[in-house]
Amino acid sequence: MNEQPERSNWPAHASRNPRGGGKGSSTSFALLRALVILMFGILTLQLINMQLIKGDEYERRVAINALREVPLSPARGLILDRNMQPLVQNSARFSVAVVPGDLPEHGESAVYSTISSVVDIPASEIESMVRIGRANQDEFSPVVIKVDIGRDPALELLELEPHAPGLAILVEPTREYSAGSALSHVLGYVGPLSAEEYADSDGYLFKDSIGKNGIELNYEDILRGELGRKLVEVDATGREIKTIDEDRPLDGSNLVLSIDLDLQKHVAEVLSQHTDDSESAAAVVMDVNTGEVLAMVSRPTFDNNMFASPLSQEALSGLLEAPGKPLLNHVLSEQFPPGDTFKMIVAGAALQEGVARPDTIITNKGYITVRNELDPNVVYIYPDRHALGPLDFSAGLAQSSNVYSYYLAGGKSDEGFIGLGPDRVARYAQAFGFGNPTGIDVPGESAGMVPDASWKESTVGDPWTLGDTYDMGIGQGYLGATPLQVLRAMCAIANGGRLVTPHLLKEVRDNHGSLLSSPEIAETEPLPVDASNLDIIRQAMRRSVTEGVTKNANVSGIAVAGNSGVAEFGAKLQDGKRATHGWFAGFAPYDNPEVAVVVFTEQGNGSDDASPAASQILDFYFHGPRLAAQPQVIGQ
């Protein structure tokens, strides 16, 4: 195309243009200028609307945008023993993590190998963990590489942190139980909130811990405290820039327990000497007047510090499946036949109901017979351990005679002896606290079992028989009680007839040690047994230690009153006998009762293991560790 004629033609062309040549052009430029003004006018109008009219509203949204409320977790309350010895401490758990968004663009592997050199995880494994973390969460959420790396590696990594961008040491609060396994059933443990717990409870963050068992669970509300919050300025990735306002969290209060840590440890030690790890065993020491629990041990035990770090599935199932059920608190979560210890209750009922008097003589031939109600030719024999001959009331109890208790509970109609009968035995058993939870402040309590005729018919399907009454009279058959229930009944006998509520919490104090509150002790319920009748029972229990079957519970210098015995359970063994539980239940001093003790051994015998254990426990309680270390004086 030739340009020259084009250019020379321009004015001519312009005049031919309907918009009017040069003049038309200037109109076009005027229109273009108008377009510029129009377009900037539109932008200006919108800006006036946004900045000048609605500016305040946007400013508020900016404030919401850049300010974030961060919740602050309170420090959990501590737990102390009655002598202010700490039973748990809050300590820090260190975990190493990587924040992918902070990693250097080149040289990620240097960071990985730094971590690898301290925590002993291959760098390649760290790399793949970070890759997975990156895919599943945002860039600035830390990817935890190893939990609970320990204090020294954490300090080492902290020093390396400035040179390894992306490396993060996470510090999380954790509970450290100083007494470990000696108190694990009492204190319980804390653990991460489950989804349900999180949904059901206010004032928790999802990463928080909550009491899962024992005192930690029961007094969660007191130990927990209240969340605080702080208002921080954050950037778009949520990283804190500065704190605007802070509302400190309210730390949890401290609990002072009635537990005596030294006694507790001694009881645990004594119990371990008399049982092995595969058997259940339990021992409790309680103030007879107040119900304060001084020591409470269940065996086999576990170390509740295990729950401070996430527990592996194997470790957990190991605990759940181990013989003797270590996670279960045998003191109160499981019921056993109370055996001979129940004879005290039957005896108290018999005196109160006039079934027997202190001078009631019953001849013990070594067994008692019962004829089958339908077929008189069938005779059942209910045995005793020894043929003790004629026994008065006190001797019957002191020797823990089965036959004597058979008479008291079921009577002997062919001899004209009227017994209590099943209803009255059950009524008195309930009055002594059997068949109902004691109300102790440790969760997971079993109610035990006080059977009666209608229960048996509906559950077992058979009618109640005289034999059932005899079994119940010696604490066997369908009767079930926790060691704690047995101990509570023993306290009632010792303190003259008041049924106390066992408890562990003595005081609530703030973290400066000031007393905040003492729990209200539940009203004790009076027993329907006269004090004079309980006096007779106590005499008999003292006699049992001095000259009866409980001799091995003797403590030099202290008048112990008690009852030891066995409770049969399970099927008959090859020698025709059954396996037995060992029991001791008693109190001391006899003339002014102070503490009561119960010892239970699953595969045991009252006089051989439960009684000596009780003796050692009481010796320690009254004489302290120095004397208790001396050899036992057996017998009188």
Partner: protein, 371 residues
């Protein structure tokens, strides 16, 4: 082809000064927007330093473009057109996607936005074509052919995808054919057709990227952390600026990273938040001055090629500024387009200084017969 000494008096110094003022204003905004990522102040590699280097290079490009007779570029129209199309195809083939859009390729460590260069080349080509057919503008075939020059370029840009630049191509064509004397009704019918097709195109052609952006514009809070986050945060930032703004480097939306790409596509949100309404008006005034100087040059020149070239450049800058700001203040759907002279970006800055150089070249030679 060399400029006569006496013509130097025709150099539009105000135009150059305005362009430099815009670059300096932009430098302040880029510095503020870069503060979260570059808290240590200026250093080699700092975006402001890079921008300054490109501005100085740009002045050189401008001088060259002004010195060389702009008509020479018109002579090379066919070659320039082939270069423009080749660049746009090349970027689709070898470019690296950023935020889901393939607009850049890297040469010697420098990111080049192909459409920036193509835009200016297409303006030159179109100016030459229309100037040659000044008397035939009523001929529908000329009209259609001029459209056919722009369509391939606009289409290649659209599939990057870069809706904003495609619209700028359309605006350049409309402005230039009208200036060349094409009947208004032709343009009106065509624009009407395009507008009527938008809903169908949105459903069928644009793909998820453009549709999402359309939805984000209509209700950005429906997706505050996804693609809509950027526009919502930009809007909040601008609104909160009020009359005088939060102060330079004091805007929390910018400084705490709420606004993304705040030194490029969303740089107006920094103006709005930190400089306020007054700061925005200063910016508008600079642009209006720049554009009016451009229109003045277009209107002065008696050469139809120069006149159309200047018009194309003015329309390009006008629409680019308008679209960029309109997106920031939610008058248009989200489409990433840099703010001329102000946004961080080397290829854009060089192209704009070349455009200013062309305008100056036209100004220097506006009286052909000056001896």
């Amino acid at each position: 082809m060399i400029v006569d000494r006496r013509a130097i008096k025709h150099l539009d110094l105000l135009l150059i000064a305005t362009a430099i003022a815009l670059v300096i204003y932009g430098g302040l905004l880029i510095y503020s927007a870069s503060l979260p990522t570059y808290p240590g102040g200026l250093s080699l590699g700092h975006p402001v330093v890079k921008q300054g280097v490109f501005a100085i290079l740009g002045l050189g490009v401008m001088a060259t473009a002004a010195w060389v007779d702009y008509r020479a570029f018109g002579q090379a129209a066919v070659a320039l057109y082939l270069v423009a199309i080749a660049l746009l195809i090349l970027v689709l083939a070898v470019g690296e996607p950023v935020y889901g859009s393939t607009r850049w390729f890297t040469i010697a460590g420098q990111q080049i936005q192909a459409s920036e260069i193509a835009k200016l080349l297409i303006i030159i080509v179109l100016a030459r074509f229309l100037a040659d057919r000044q008397q035939q503008m009523r001929d529908i075939r000329v009209f259609i052919t001029s459209l056919a020059i722009v369509i391939p370029a606009a289409f290649l840009v659209l599939i990057e995808p870069d809706m904003g630049t495609a619209i700028v191509f359309g605006a350049i064509w409309v402005g230039m054919v009208l200036m060349a004397g094409a009947p208004v009704r032709y343009v009106a019918v065509l624009v009407g057709l395009v507008v009527a097709m938008i809903p169908f195109a949105a459903l069928a052609v644009f793909g998820e990227y453009q549709r999402d952006r359309l939805v984000n514009w209509i209700d950005p809070s429906s997706d505050p952390l996804g693609g809509g986050f950027a526009i919502l945060q930009s809007e909040i930032g601008i609104g909160s600026g009020g009359l005088l703004g939060q102060g330079w480097t004091e805007g929390t939306q910018t400084q705490f990273h709420f606004v993304q790409t705040s030194s490029t596509d969303y740089i107006f949100s920094v103006v709005g938040e930190e400089m306020g309404f007054v700061g925005a008006m200063v910016l508008f005034a600079l642009y209006v001055l720049l554009l009016f100087r451009g229109i003045r040059i277009a209107s002065m020149t008696e050469d139809s090629f120069g006149r159309l070239l200047a018009t194309g450049i003015v329309v390009m800058i006008l629409f680019q500024v308008f679209i960029n700001i309109a997106v920031n203040i939610r008058l248009l759907p989200v489409t990433g387009i840099p703010m001329p002279f102000v946004s961080q970006g080397g290829s854009s800055l060089l192209m704009l200084f070349a455009a200013v150089g062309l305008l100056e070249g036209i100004a220097l030679r506006h009286k052909r017969l000056e001896f």
